[in-house]
Symmetry: C3
Subunit: 151 residues, 3 copies
């Protein structure tokens, strides 16, 4: 049997894994509850959100907030929820790089649920000496049919 | 950088986090497999399920069972699955308070999937000295567009 | 209060739980990114995938690969993502048996999302002395309305 597979248990400790899940839970509750200032504060001051699929890069908390406030009218008639799965976590010098799936539901006042496209997200997370976690970079790719499947 | 963020790693140990996830996995398998007596037994005897979004409060295992048996005909033609995400876990005197997202799928005999509205759920969990976990209170809020987004 | 409930915290350590989640994250990223050889390598050489709902059993990595390559044309126009939840993990002699929910999204080039039927999956996972995890058996059941709910 091949021995080239990574040993999952070396990648991240259970404590760190749970800290990362808890960070994302808090960050997504803030975003989806439209607590935009508190959400922006989960990024580093110079944090970047890169919507790679549409060539749009927002740098810094202030720009992030301006961008989100401009987008708010789209959320008047729906409640948005971000769903994550399958976190791949790699330690870095000051935190972790995390790649995961993201699905976004929109629930309207009648309870009808619609879906945004699925996304593949890659985050750089930094952890301060105090233990606090922040996102310094988020790159989002809308999932598109793969070029490896040829006609 | 602000230091007002909570330190996620202080909130809940990895062992407790996994015990809570395992509890929910068992509880939801029982519910979705319609093992209603076993599901009711995952609540304390005086456990409460509060459907806050429709002003309906069911108190005690017996009432819970009567309520679920009355609802069973709705589940003749679909398989229901509850999906959770983004658990926010806060220790309490005798267990934890847990807030999370919930999505409910309904799969019919032909495999077609439909969705119930998304929910925000807040549970009180109690842990006995033996380590067993029970739900003492579950409050469900159907997600509705937020009043903070004004015209 | 009844004391017949299992003690969740005895079932699986936090380290093992995280190792299993990380294994599934890697395995599903490989599958959904159509890295089929690498995906097949996450099974033991004699690994079996049993689509119990349609009476189809594929045994061994080579047969698995042939099967997946034959199915590839169906994935030319969509990106598939497998979403897991509610893992029930039981230790075995050489690893774990894991039962979980599975939801499959298909995202097309326009971003429209459709859903395959939900599934209940039961895996046998083996862990080598080196710590590496492999799937030796995967049994998939399409969720169908239960016979316990009578007219």
């Amino acid at each position: 049997m091949t021995t080239t597979q990574p040993r999952e248990s070396q990648h991240v400790s259970a404590d760190d894994y749970v800290a990362i899940l808890s960070f994302y839970a808090r960050q997504m509750h803030l975003l989806d509850d439209l607590e935009l200032e508190a959400y922006a504060a989960t990024f580093t001051e110079d944090g970047v959100v890169d919507h790679a699929h549409r060539g749009q890069r927002v740098a810094g908390r202030a720009a992030m907030l301006a961008y989100m406030h401009a987008a708010l009218p789209a959320y008047k008639r729906v409640v948005v929820r971000h769903w994550f799965d399958h976190l791949l976590i790699e330690p870095t010098a000051d935190g972790w790089q995390v790649s995961y799936y993201s699905l976004v539901t929109r629930t309207d006042a009648d309870g009808a649920v619609t879906f945004e496209p699925t996304f593949s997200v890659r985050d750089n997370l930094v952890r301060l000496d105090s233990g606090e976690i922040y996102t310094s970079l988020r790159v989002l790719h809308q999932d598109r049919p793969s070029s490896v499947v040829q006609d």
